[in-house]
Symmetry: C2
Subunit: 367 residues, 2 copies
């Protein structure tokens, strides 16, 4: 007797990086960057990807501060692809507005919206919207609680420490999906894994530093917390984000992807006091045990299964999908590689039981 | 020598009313209502209307609490039509988020977004987002000031009484249009007219009660305030909103439009202590001097010119366009009447110099 299996899912996420190309110096506008993203979502839908995510930022080099608005632009021209934030910085947002924006997106797309809620990796939104970084964790917990309350019922009463209270007010529109999916985005802290598990919410691990192996214990924590809270383990969903880029050869993938990765990682690294990002870091990440999905299709596929093996002992699985660099003629790598990846993964799916939605690779190459 | 003239503009605005049909009892979901609106925007663009506006509400019978998200769903499938809120309840919104949402819409539509800012006719959003009705006017003034500051420059510092302060922060994405249009929506108070004139902002009068004639002095006030503040009067823009419905005969228009108007006006009237809305009120509004644009095309056109005559002595002009009731097979009245109205108005345009954008009729019939 076999358990029912869900198929794995593949997707792309992006921060809509609009930094100048580090090789050519060319830059595109935020407006052009977001319009290209909309074309990309339409293509991703056509070639069979399952999900497209856009991350909220408030920085000059990223074009997306309002993911729901951008995703909505693809709602009426796509049929199947799920439209997600990746992430919504919930700590510094009003949870009622977040619900309304994504319930609206859910209506427009007839039930394909998702919220991925995170505390935020960048911190610009905190001073901009009047929140204190001292309340970083508390804000997230409180805002998540309110978001889940709004999701659970049309009329809500609310009392909290950081957001004005209200009594028995209706919140509209209501989402088509019941419930509207709310994922927890985690950078890899045990607290996030336990919180998501306890609430029975799906979780996405952003594997953008270190080795993927270190996430295996977090998946354990997540599942244990879920079991303790009485959630059905077969219904939990786990996803991962990783950087990546697919091309015809490993070398070509590396050469095309390195300059923008180098520029982006060093830009962030300077702000955060990281050591300089080098070609060695890049190549290390491309190795089998590394975190980057860059390479040719087979390489990425092999790595995905390697990742899945790391996690399969705890009954979970995940994988990633290539992104493409929009400084190149857009969409060629995506349109040629996605269906093949989709077919090969789909054939293998019964191996990973109970399998999960998972997807996502940051499309962080310049422009 | 003639002054350069702008052509008049025509449009539709809607609150996405999803109340049950008062005749048949049938209701549609919020999701279906907003998807139909997106189809309607696409059609309005094809038939040559100039603007489509969606109003923000937080009530069970209206589907639009996030106008920018809904408008974005039409951004990539339309070419010319301008996409506006009608209105954005600025008093209870964060002006930074409002700018970001509409700058994003502006990018997606390549420069076709507009914000119409109002204090809000309904009050649900105040308790929901933690604002006090005691600050009704002050909140609007302060939020408008911040919105205009964000619109004016990428880096902004802010100190105010009702919204957290911040210092020299960048706000992204930037709008394509410079500046992103910000209209003032007025229900007809002298204060609104003077405020908009002083700031040199375009103004929209919602003529949904009383007689249109009473707006003539407000237009004077608006223009005088603008002149005192040194704004070029030829660059001011004035628009009006009115309810309306066009059909093949006056009688048919009345019969189709009366039930939903009656239901909607009495629903609001019960909350606000208005006298009952009667057939006499409805027919009075349909008369030449009344405020409703319901009727056949010629009737509506004649009334528009009558309105324009009321205002022409102060150098302004405006008109309206029919809406259609979505309980009927959608789009037929719109697609057949819009091009004809557009042509007839366009022929007459040089008469009204300097003419203004103006447009809008509420599409408030049930569903």
């Amino acid at each position: 007797m076999t358990q029912p299996t869900k198929r794995m899912e593949l997707g792309i996420s992006t921060f809509l990086d609009a930094s100048p190309d580090p090789v050519t110096g060319e830059a595109i506008s935020h407006a052009e960057r977001m319009r290209r993203a909309v074309e990309e979502i339409v293509l991703a839908d056509q070639v069979g990807l399952d999900v497209y995510g856009i991350g909220e930022h408030h920085r000059a080099n990223y074009a997306a501060s309002s993911p729901a608005v951008i995703l909505a632009a693809a709602a009426s021209t796509t049929k199947h692809i799920r439209l997600s934030s990746a992430v919504t910085v919930l700590s510094s947002a009003d949870p009622v507005r977040v619900y309304q924006d994504f319930a609206t997106l859910d209506g427009l797309s007839n039930g394909r919206a998702e919220i991925m809620a995170g505390r935020g990796s960048f911190i610009e939104s905190f001073p901009l919207f009047g929140y204190s970084l001292e309340d970083y964790d508390e804000l997230f917990e409180e805002h998540l609680e309110l978001l889940l309350a709004v999701r659970a019922s049309e009329k809500v009463s609310w009392r909290g420490g950081h957001r004005p209270a209200f009594d028995n007010l209706g919140i509209y529109p209501r989402a088509v999906q019941e419930p509207l999916p709310v994922w927890i985005a985690s950078g890899g802290t045990p607290e996030s894994a336990v919180r998501a598990g306890t609430l029975g919410l799906p979780i996405t691990f952003a594997i953008i530093g270190g080795m993927p192996e270190r996430f295996a214990p977090l998946v354990s924590l997540y599942k244990e917390a879920a079991a303790r809270a009485g959630h059905d383990p077969s219904k939990l969903q786990i996803a991962s984000h990783s950087h990546g880029f697919i091309s015809d050869t490993n070398e070509q993938a590396a050469e095309l992807y390195y300059p923008s990765t180098h520029a982006a990682m060093n830009k962030i690294g300077r702000e955060r006091g990281w050591p300089p990002y080098t070609r060695e870091s890049f190549d290390g990440a491309r190795s089998l045990r590394g975190r980057s999905m860059s390479g040719i299709r087979n390489m990425s596929q092999r790595k995905s299964f390697f990742y899945a093996r790391i996690l399969v002992w705890i009954g979970s699985s995940y994988m990633s999908m290539s992104a493409h660099c929009l400084t190149e003629k857009p969409f060629v790598p995506l349109s040629t590689s996605a269906p093949r990846l989709r077919r090969s993964y789909t054939r293998k799916l019964p191996v990973w039981r109970p399998t999960n939605r998972s997807s996502f690779i940051y499309n962080d190459c310049a422009q």
